[in-house]
């Protein structure tokens, strides 16, 4: 925005009597102008966050930099955990592996649990949204189950599956399914009557109606649900792994805490935050692509 203001100002600044000249000049300069525009956008988008991050790091350094501080300062983190920061994918032994590997293990669990939750959530949500009776009967139940914290499910799922891996996946599933399900149901309920009339006149069967009318029409709602769901899934996996153990970013934090490696924990927190951010953006981006026409 501010960029276009700058260019238009420079055009205004050219002397008005010579009207043909700037046009001729503009053509060879078009490439460099585009390049400049790109550079400007880069600066606009990246400089403010970098400056803010630097300030926050500085505050952090000042707050915990003195001797005897309870938490490690940035310099200490760098000194003691630089191997984790620099190389995410090293393998020094069965339990001494890079954080990239651990994150991937956690992502795999989230991937399985979240995919299951999406499939079941969208399907059940579609049915619930279609039927007034199902909505009346199930909605209060869903609203209650929705508020159960992820970790409260863990003992029950451990008892049911008697293994940590499926239990962790189940916790992901049961945590992320509610927003997907409820949003899909609301989206389906909000399909305009016009679209339903069109489907009726064309005599679309249930299957065709689901793919050709329901999914595209409810897509914005569904993707809002998916976005909330993936965020919750990522929250839940870290907590679940702390308790179930094994390989994974959550267990790594618990392990580091038990062996008093605070700098490692700090690095792991950054990993978790970055991955959560990327996951959110990916789902948001797909939703943007899918809902473009609607």
């Amino acid at each position: 925005m501010s960029l276009s203001a700058v260019t238009s100002k420079s055009e205004d600044a050219t002397p008005s009597p010579v009207k043909i000249l700037p046009l001729n000049v503009a053509r060879p300069g078009a490439g460099s102008r585009q390049f400049r525009r790109f550079g400007q956008a880069l600066v606009n988008n990246f400089v403010p966050p970098i400056i803010c991050a630097a300030i926050l790091l500085l505050i952090w350094q000042i707050a915990f930099g003195r001797a005897g501080a309870t938490l490690p300062a940035p310099t200490v983190v760098w000194k003691e955990a630089s191997d984790l920061i620099i190389d995410p994918f090293f393998r020094n032994g069965p339990q001494d592996i890079g954080l990239g590997w651990r994150t991937l293990t956690s992502l795999q669990r989230v991937g399985i649990g979240f995919s299951l939750a999406s499939a079941v959530g969208i399907l059940v949500g579609a049915i619930v949204g279609q039927s007034i009776w199902a909505m009346r009967g199930l909605d209060p139940i869903f609203q209650i189950l929705r508020t159960v914290p992820p970790l409260a499910w863990l003992p029950i799922s451990l008892a049911a599956f008697r293994d940590s891996q499926p239990s962790a996946i189940f916790v992901i599933f049961i945590t992320s399914i509610w927003p997907i399900l409820i949003n899909t149901a609301v989206g389906v309920r909000n399909i305009p009557q016009d679209y339903r009339n069109v489907a009726q006149v064309l005599r679309l069967n249930h299957f065709e109606f689901f793919w050709k009318i329901m999914m595209p029409s409810a897509a914005p709602y569904i993707f809002t649900g998916l976005r909330i769901g993936i965020g919750l899934a990522w929250l839940a996996i870290v907590a679940a792994e702390m308790l179930t153990g094994g390989v994974g970013i959550g267990f790594f934090i618990w392990d580091a805490w038990n062996s008093s490696r605070l700098p490692d924990i700090v690095v792991a927190l950054f990993y978790i935050g970055a991955v959560g951010f990327v996951l959110d953006r990916i789902v948001g981006f797909i939703g943007h692509l899918v809902a473009r026409g609607a």
Binding site: D194, N197, Q200, V201, L202, L204, G293, A294
Partner: protein, 264 residues
């Protein structure tokens, strides 16, 4: 007893809890093949409800809709509807909107190539070929309604139902689309029922004008015959005696005999 479309003693009552609301009472009408019939009446007189009953989107309380002597009580492509607000699917292009209908209705009978030709033929009929790859949000209201007509025509309906098709359009666009409808009717000779509240539109397009009394429990008050030769040209009609007579009959019905009292 072999009318093309027959509305036989149709009544419609909406029931909400214990409150009953008589909307339509004892509607009798026969429509011949190739006829254009308009239904006109004040708002709230149930003309849209009547169209929905014919389309099968709403169920009759008593009576029956007979198409070629067969009762119809569910929607189907042989009674295609052009909806008031076009009802195009916004995530599909113009072409895909028509294709959805064609692929569903002719998926079994026509080959892929034939269906493609048929879609393009129908878009051509409403002069929308140039915008076939655009989405509904990228075209004007009149163009959307053209696509809606193309989609309905592409189903090769036995009867075309138009629910105030041009109500939301400006006068010039409306005139343009009315001409298009007359052209299409001249080529295809299709049977049409059109809901409207525009007297000129009704007289210009139809062979008969069905005038509805005011609700509740509205019924057919009178039917005006429009004895005008086709093709009709709106400029020549302005001073035509039959045109003026038909127009007067409808206006008198609407504003003398069945004044809409609540409308202020």
């Amino acid at each position: 007893m072999s009318a093309y479309l027959k509305l036989d003693h149709i009544c419609k009552t909406f029931r909400r809890g214990s409150v009953e609301n008589d909307v339509l009472r004892d509607i009798n009408l026969t429509i011949e093949k190739g006829e254009i019939v308009s239904m006109i009446g004040h708002s709230g007189c149930g003309k849209s409800t009547l169209l929905n009953l014919i389309a099968g989107l709403t169920k009759v309380t008593s009576g029956a809709v007979l198409l070629e002597d067969r009762e119809v009580n569910a929607p189907g492509p042989e009674r295609a509807v052009v909806f008031q607000n076009h009802s195009l699917l916004p995530w599909l292009t113009v072409y895909e909107n028509v294709a959805l209908a064609v692929n569903k209705v002719f998926g079994a009978q026509k080959s892929r190539g034939e269906r493609k030709d048929w879609i393009e033929h129908n878009l051509d009929l409403v002069q929308m070929t140039h915008a076939k790859d655009r989405r509904p949000s990228e075209i004007s209201g009149g163009m959307k309604q053209r696509v809606g007509i193309a989609r309905a025509l592409a189903m090769e309906p036995k009867i075309l139902l138009l629910d105030e098709p041009f109500g939301a359009l400006d006068a010039l666009t409306r005139a343009h689309l009315q001409d298009s409808v007359m052209q299409i009717h001249a080529t295809l000779k299709n049977t049409m029922i059109m809901i409207t509240h525009d007297v000129d539109e009704a007289v210009l397009l139809s062979d008969r004008i069905v005038m509805m009394t005011n609700g509740p429990s509205a019924t057919i008050g009178d039917v005006a015959l429009v004895k005008l030769e086709r093709p009709r040209h709106r400029l020549e009609l302005v001073s035509d005696r039959d045109y003026i007579a038909a127009r007067e009959a409808v206006l008198k019905f609407l504003y003398e005999r069945h004044r809409f009292v609540e409308a202020a």
